[in-house]
Symmetry: D2
Subunit: 334 residues, 4 copies
Amino acid sequence: MDHELSMYNIRTDLALEAQEIATQGQETSAIPGVWSESESADGISVTRMEIKTDQAAQQIGKMVGHYVTLEVPDLRQGDSTLQDKVATSFAKEFEAFLKRIGITENSSVLIVGLGNLNVTPDALGPVVVDNIMVTRHFFELMPDQVSPGYRPVSAIAPGVLGTTGIESSDIVQGIVEKSKPDLIIAVDALAAKSLERVNTTIQIADTGIHPGSGIGNKRKGLTKDILGVPVIGIGVPTVVYASTIVNNTMDLVFEHMKKHTENTDPLFGVFGKMEETERLQLVKEVLNPLGHDLLVTPKEIDKFMEDIANVIASGLNAALHEAVDTDNVAAYTH
Amino acid sequence: MDHELSMYNIRTDLALEAQEIATQGQETSAIPGVWSESESADGISVTRMEIKTDQAAQQIGKMVGHYVTLEVPDLRQGDSTLQDKVATSFAKEFEAFLKRIGITENSSVLIVGLGNLNVTPDALGPVVVDNIMVTRHFFELMPDQVSPGYRPVSAIAPGVLGTTGIESSDIVQGIVEKSKPDLIIAVDALAAKSLERVNTTIQIADTGIHPGSGIGNKRKGLTKDILGVPVIGIGVPTVVYASTIVNNTMDLVFEHMKKHTENTDPLFGVFGKMEETERLQLVKEVLNPLGHDLLVTPKEIDKFMEDIANVIASGLNAALHEAVDTDNVAAYTH
Amino acid sequence: MDHELSMYNIRTDLALEAQEIATQGQETSAIPGVWSESESADGISVTRMEIKTDQAAQQIGKMVGHYVTLEVPDLRQGDSTLQDKVATSFAKEFEAFLKRIGITENSSVLIVGLGNLNVTPDALGPVVVDNIMVTRHFFELMPDQVSPGYRPVSAIAPGVLGTTGIESSDIVQGIVEKSKPDLIIAVDALAAKSLERVNTTIQIADTGIHPGSGIGNKRKGLTKDILGVPVIGIGVPTVVYASTIVNNTMDLVFEHMKKHTENTDPLFGVFGKMEETERLQLVKEVLNPLGHDLLVTPKEIDKFMEDIANVIASGLNAALHEAVDTDNVAAYTH
Amino acid sequence: MDHELSMYNIRTDLALEAQEIATQGQETSAIPGVWSESESADGISVTRMEIKTDQAAQQIGKMVGHYVTLEVPDLRQGDSTLQDKVATSFAKEFEAFLKRIGITENSSVLIVGLGNLNVTPDALGPVVVDNIMVTRHFFELMPDQVSPGYRPVSAIAPGVLGTTGIESSDIVQGIVEKSKPDLIIAVDALAAKSLERVNTTIQIADTGIHPGSGIGNKRKGLTKDILGVPVIGIGVPTVVYASTIVNNTMDLVFEHMKKHTENTDPLFGVFGKMEETERLQLVKEVLNPLGHDLLVTPKEIDKFMEDIANVIASGLNAALHEAVDTDNVAAYTH
């Protein structure tokens, strides 16, 4: 997660969660101006969503645009057969996504891997970039020799503000002006709303990458407004705040107790009756001054990152180049 | 944390915490058969402890033996001046520890780095081993040419059961029989009792490395009984269970509220009056079946591990070789 | 290449080359007591050889035993289809090799990865070990639950003398005594006789790993004599001496000129008429005192090592476990 | 060595060598329009040179400009005391160099690390960038809180054409236009003219980075012309062509024989009397069609690269920030 760009918006990095919060778990149809559909197979749930109106956008707290979310609870098991299925599924969804938003087969693409290679849970972008099949230079240097079924793809990992001294957004803008891609795909790690989302969920969105709107935050995002070309963001939650773990767990404890006791009031008192956001606020108030509200990640993060970066890179390679087979995409990465 | 050896004993990997639990925060003197002293300077707290009697051992839940704990809350700040101070402090404590338990200057030492190099928060042992000044082969191959001020030091990272197929304890035993060291120093990552302990605390103990006593657990440890020579364990907490974070945070929330309200009963009900262990039990009962009681580690673990492994390796180099200066130990590692 | 074990024997790490030198390029049949056969397909040459008598062994300068050599000149091109073919070919040869020397399907195997993980061209052994499918612990801990088609496999990278202070041979001996495998497979990097062999040739031999017979060299090898069980060595040339490059190139230059000129005497004088070994001797005499006879490796060694380690690891996984398919072995490594 | 930028110019990546070739080893003064001075201490030779006239530039084959070369034959010995001395010496030379070419204390600097992080001998630029003390963002975000003694420094590793699909020069140009530095420092690995130069020589030059003038090569360099601000190049030879090794060695062999024999004509014939360039041409003609004229690097390149990258990074940190002490610069890198 490029701290500069995405970390602030922790409330709702995932549109799916934002919608769930907005509808408080009721049926989606409850929100006018939102279309969505879901399907599930082979342990992979896919939700496609469109936020069509400003009103809906405001209600949900996410921008007008297209969103696809893949949820694969078992993705952390290290099962390479499942990983291949997810890569294929991701490739198909991504291809359909490109068509839906009007990107043609010959459009040139710049893939931007946000984040810090030396911080494992933040290395998603750079590791995906390392495994992308780059072709733009062939189109530039020997255009008549490129086989059919490929498009011009370039890829860059611009680093993070703390190690380059320059906003990622500025670096990308400079590169876009020189290399003139038709589309940008930005890959980034996100903060999760719960521990079980970490490295099991992938979101695709055509709304770009937005730094949060924190007070005095002048950070620039990666958006069509700034860069002049459409920006698709691919995000995976890889870390979670300690306070989020606490809050989620308390929910689970309350639910658990409700199964056994009719009246849980004496059990948890006022605390048990707080709104979730109110309780999270309390937890944060206690942890923050002590410096304990750390972002944490599972112990096995090295392997998890390698696996999901491979899924995304091989999925992108298959989706972007017709000549690369969506049925066996993993062979093109290492 | 070599899963095989230390993960099970999560209740009390640190003697210091075990004692605190046993005395429920009262004065140490409360437990007969336990000697301890503490000092603090430059942001480093050192506690030296001896559990002298079986009775005391039983009461605390840790073995009879010597323990030294360094606590450095700011060690994660990345301040290299502080890191050098901690390395020097660790070297001095370790030297004194060796004398206290009767290890002489010429004793040969085998350093065992437990854990898995490919799992960042578990890589403490292997990374320390990578930075150890190894000298045994000079004593073997050209004994008359070794400068004074050095002792024979060898070092091995035996891997973990899951990647070698052999118990670490068996591998070390085989190597000990061939190389015949006088002393073993085993370095291992531990599970912490709280998030703020992660990569800020170092424990030295002469009681060896003990796998937990879980049901049906036939794992062998690294102990004098098994290996025939004294074993000093060096442990650093690098991960924490999600349930532990929840439990600690609830404590903090309760304390926080007590400052503001005289009677917190209505606030938290039965839940607030539970014993800490009872509450932890409840949290674990809820999280475990869902597979949510993961071991987690801070997002910045890569840098934290590099820093503390350097502290320990440079401290050991200085403590083991008189010719290496305790005042500038860090220069000997990379 | 574990410096301790293999570096000294630079004259003839490969039996194939030793034989070529002995026969001076004539037909193999010239040496009594040597059986050999070759075949070639898909860019892969396989030579199977047996040195049957002590006399033949002396003549060739290699021990009595079985040898298989795979030569794949294009292996450095990074073609993953070819790599998969080589892995499959290696697996088949290795399986046949096991049968030929009488190793049964249930024999337990310890794989020893010699070399130094932190020295890229010397990291073959440790990287192969990292990708081995280890199963011994399942047989030990839950023998009745292991699926058919697997055998007990363990794996260890013992490090090198310079970083452990202990001879690799002693470490392996200790582990063998504790874990009691029926067979040892030792993987090691070698010095090549020519630059084009680097990372394109794989040798399998049942003669163990022998340190050279350099003056005063008391190094112990990995052999049946020392370890009590058969030892199969797998070697890949990954480095070459500067002097070897010079010598080979001069050969090529002489050959090149002979094509154009009838009498090359005036062109190269005495130098051109020297025996190859004599000329190599001269080159070494000149380079050695200057410290210029370095071992060198191709610039792209990082990728080459990754590729060939994957070939060997996936080949071994398929050859050792019947349940792993020889036709698609690469899927089992990362 | 960013293949795109520097690989082609193999004849004379180092001005020092170019001058030696031009003067055929005679006194420097022989070339009008060239000023140079040398000094040597602590095993470090420093040569400062200025090519003042176009005529001199043409004669030497290097551009008009300032050059400083540090030669440290023992730099590969792994002696950290020597490395610290070299870092300090490099820092002092670099500071003086900046003054000589008129760069003031407050000028903002962009450091560009050319090359490929995943190819060890080509990773110099990216590894140096990883260890640079970056400050530009502090000047941008909180200009009034920056301590005196620092200047705005940013740093980027733009990758190589083969992995990004975009010319490094285009990427840097885009970033320069957005971040507007006053000076660019480009760090790159070079091809050496002899094996002993590899990782023992550092060149500083104010002439920018120039891709060779190979046939049909349309590559853009990093120069003031293209980027609009001065460009200082820092280069270290890290690889050498096999043909270069052969050629150098033949020189050494000829010299060696001349010491023993008055008339070497019968020894080496025509070959021995060839001009060096003519002989190199012959060797290349023989090796090239076989694909044997590989770029090679010493076996220990991993350690060599780590060491020299630290020397350069710590030297730059000290030279660029007055507040960083030139007497102990190494402490600021890891």
